[in-house]
């Protein structure tokens, strides 16, 4: 489920040598003991650890760094995710987002796996993400790794079309007091405070609190929609560099929010989590990591439904170099969820209270057929879930680095999207006759994906291309059943998707960088023999055919920075959402080392625009401008 991340480990390895220096980083002695490679990894202003081998990774990965997030003026996780051009990110209303990779996007998109510091943020209701309650202190993010394409072998079910991995900074990299505040239009007001310090020489901690209030979006008739909301969140992190290279971390976040809705009463959301991680090096080439977490969420939508979910998850993994050619990672995982739903007359999950378990085991071997040049990676994940029993998700990848500046990679993967409560246990209305009923025999949806990619670096220019073809079998369908207008959920659709993703980064000078991202994507969904589905994927995919993004990052002297991000998103045909262009911009001024002031505008080109939604539920998103001040003591 929430298992291994090779990249994460590569990065862990890359920084594993750092603690010795970090503990006494003010000392020249410590810096002098570093190798050249390590010295080049010392951060000299703020942190952004880029995976060293990103260039050679055999998958379509993009990394959003802390610097990227800060300079974009993003104020939420979904806004930051717009920086990855291999994602489809669409704002639905003031709080809801539809986010996916390689299409099949919807507000209940179910083929993307999202992790925050190793914790899967996932609702078993529909195998997707409630984006309104996924938040972190953006300034504490180290980086966000975004992989488009299947990652199921390492990451687990749901990683059918992509993985988003949000990684926050180690506590020793967030020392001191950081106070941020600001406000404007749309984002009415926000503030946060974080304090980081040390408890003895080897233990660092941070605590934070944040809150914000957002304005409503507009209805098609121009009146304010009922979707204004506010949230508060707080948390802590503790990192202990114990003896002999052991590292222990404890993370926790808690939040509470209220959202206006059209019907009487407010939507209430609250929740929290506790995560414990342990890394134990066995030798220079072998390491065991273990992680356990508890996560709870509460959501009450008066008149519609309520949910209390408790999740418990434990993962152990071992990585080791075997001889000169093999890099093996394997692991085991277990997850238990306890989900209690309060049903309404209009909509019900039956039975209302379920407990579900998942067991997983995976292994992967990266074989250096020609060391540093030609690597083959073979792996498989076996999972057992309560709905469909055993599922196997294998993959094979090759990367050929035929010069230090050119890498060609290819992959074949099988991934599954296992059933969620919505597929089997949803009933509308609560009592028969049902208009819509969960399918008692709903199986997993299957994907077989073929990918081919190329990366090229030519001086200050870095190019990357990824192309893909995926075939889907058993996608969710709505099957007519006897009774007036009665539908039951089935696996009656097949489909295919193909396309390409291209990115280019060009550093014109040390102070000016341009980036472009382009994605072209086609999806066809059709009923398979025996199905009477007539939706042709209209419930499963709302995806633009192409999107283009351009970003410019300019530093003007040591104090000023000017950033702009333009995007073009083509029409979403089956929603009749027209194509749109928009521009975000930010001007930053750092008059003192400890103070930064910024002015940011979002969606500047138009008074209002629409990104996503069925014609009856469209929301218009308005231009927003806000100012922000940030002190670092």
């Amino acid at each position: 489920m929430n298992p291994t991340r090779t990249l994460f480990l590569i990065v862990l390895l890359a920084v594993a040598a750092r603690p010795a220096a970090a503990q006494q980083r003010d000392s020249a002695e410590a810096l002098k003991r570093l190798t050249l490679d390590q010295l080049m990894n010392v951060e000299v202003m703020s942190v952004s650890r880029r995976p060293e081998r990103l260039f050679e990774t055999p998958s379509a990965i993009q990394v959003i760094t802390q610097d990227d997030i800060r300079r974009s003026g993003a104020t939420s996780l979904p806004e930051a995710l717009r920086l990855a051009s291999n994602l489809q990110v669409a704002q639905v209303d003031a709080r809801q987002w539809a986010i996916s990779a390689r299409g099949l996007n919807s507000t209940t998109a179910n083929k993307l796996l999202v992790l925050i510091d190793g914790r899967t943020v996932y609702t078993p209701l529909f195998s997707g993400v409630f984006w309104d309650v996924q938040d972190v202190l953006l300034t504490d993010i180290d980086r966000i790794e975004v992989i488009s394409g299947p990652g199921a072998t390492l990451w687990g079910s749901n990683a059918v079309n992509g993985v988003i991995n949000v990684i926050t900074k180690d506590a020793k990299d967030t020392r001191g007091l950081l106070v941020t505040g600001g406000g404007g239009t749309e984002l009415a007001g926000f503030g946060s405070a974080r304090y980081g310090g040390e408890l003895g020489a080897h233990t660092h901690y941070r605590i934070y609190g944040k809150g914000f209030s957002r304005d409503p979006t507009l209805l098609p008739n121009g009146q304010a929609a009922a979707d204004a909301w506010h949230m508060g969140q707080g948390g802590l992190r503790l990192d202990w560099d114990a003896s002999a290279g052991n590292r222990l971390s404890l993370l926790s976040d808690w939040y509470d929010g209220r959202i206006v809705q059209a019907s009487p009463g407010h939507i209430g959301v609250s929740g929290g989590n506790v995560v414990a991680k342990w890394a134990h090096p066995i030798s220079a080439t072998s390491e065991v990591t273990a992680q356990a977490y508890y996560d709870r969420t509460h959501r009450n939508i008066p008149g519609t439904f309520g949910e209390d979910l408790d999740s418990y998850d434990i993962d152990v993994q071992h990585r080791a170099a075997l001889g000169a050619r093999h890099h093996v990672v394997w692991g085991l995982g277990y997850r238990l969820i306890n989900d209690r739903v309060q049903n309404s007359a209009g909509l019900a999950f039956l039975p209302p209270h379920v407990a579900r378990q998942w067991f997983t085991a995976f292994a992967q071997d990266e074989i250096a057929l020609v060391p540093e040049r030609f690597h083959v990676t073979l792996g498989a994940k076996i999972e057992h879930n309560d709905y469909t029993g055993f599922e196997i998700q294998p993959s094979g990848r090759v990367n050929w680095t035929f010069s230090p500046s050119r890498t060609l990679w290819a992959a074949i993967s099988r991934a599954v999207r296992t059933p969620s409560r919505i597929d089997r246990e949803l009933f509308i209305p609560r009592q028969p006759p049902y208009f819509l009923a969960g399918g008692p025999n709903f199986r997993s949806e299957n994907e077989l994906a073929y990918e081919l990619g190329y990366r090229h670096q030519q001086g200050a220019l870095v190019l990357s291309f990824a192309t893909f073809y995926s075939h889907y079998h058993g996608l969710r369908s709505l099957e007519p059943v006897p009774g007036p207008d009665s539908l039951e959920i089935g696996n009656g659709q097949d489909g295919e998707s193909y396309g390409g993703e291209a990115t280019a980064t060009y550093r014109i000078t040390d102070n000016w960088q341009l980036r472009a991202g382009y994605t072209e994507l086609r999806i066809h969904i059709w009923p398979n023999p025996g199905s009477a589905d007539t939706t042709r994927g209209a419930t499963e995919s709302h995806t633009p055919d192409r999107q283009l993004s351009l970003r410019s990052s300019l530093s003007l002297g040591a104090q000023w920075s000017l950033d702009g991000g333009f995007r073009y998103i083509s029409e979403i045909v089956n929603q009749q959402v027209p194509a749109y262009t928009e521009l975000d911009a930010r001007l930053g001024w750092q008059p003192l080392a400890a103070l930064e002031l910024s002015l940011a505008g979002r969606n500047l080109l138009h008074d209002r625009h629409t990104e996503f939604g069925t014609p009856t539920a469209l929301r218009r998103i308005e231009r927003g401008v806000y100012g922000m001040a940030q002190w670092h003591f």
Partner: protein
């Protein structure tokens, strides 16, 4: 009035408290020190094996005490390290590694021409230093220090740079006209 001053002093003290990161020039100082171990200069006949290894700074000194602290008590073989600060080209004598400060950016071409064929490893963090014929340029990339090396410039001056250093650097050439 006194109160106002007290408040402003306090405020500036708070704002300027050192943030807990390695300083840029502390890291660059350690790089300069490390370069001595990855660079070979032509042997000077009959040179005293205890001749100091000289690191020079030309122009405004951005290092403060970092460079002196870094090399204090250090030796390369029998050679102790020494740091010299120069303001004029003509002062440069017996220097092995020369860091050219950004304050000299305007006249880098002139400086490099004057040092032509002297066996000095030239280093700077000025813009396009390597492309302009300097040997090693520090480049800030995502808050990391990267190295850009003009191998031809080093070879022309008979300074041999170890492959270990080249491996972690970006190699550039002087654009030909």
């Amino acid at each position: 009035m006194a109160l106002l001053r007290a408040v402003s002093v306090l405020a500036s003290a708070l704002l300027f408290v050192q943030s807990p990161r390695a300083s840029e020039y502390q890291v660059k100082a350690v790089f300069l020190f490390n370069f001595a171990q990855f660079v070979d200069w032509p042997t000077v006949p009959a040179q005293d094996p205890r001749t100091p290894l000289l690191i020079g700074i030309l122009g405004d000194d951005p290092f403060g005490a970092f460079l002196d602290e870094t090399v204090r008590g250090e030796h390369l073989g029998l050679r102790p390290f020494e740091v010299h600060r120069y303001h004029e080209l003509t002062d440069i004598e017996g220097c092995n590694i020369l860091f050219i400060s950004r304050s000299e950016n305007e006249r880098v071409g002139q400086i490099l021409a004057a040092l032509h064929n002297r066996t000095i490893l030239t280093v700077s963090d000025g813009e396009d230093f390597a492309k302009r014929g300097g040997m090693i340029q520090f480049v800030n990339d995502k808050n990391r220090i990267r190295l850009r090396i003009n191998l031809e410039a080093a070879q022309a001056a008979n300074v041999t740079i170890s492959s270990k250093l080249l491996r972690v650097a970006e190699i550039v050439r002087t654009p030909r006209r």
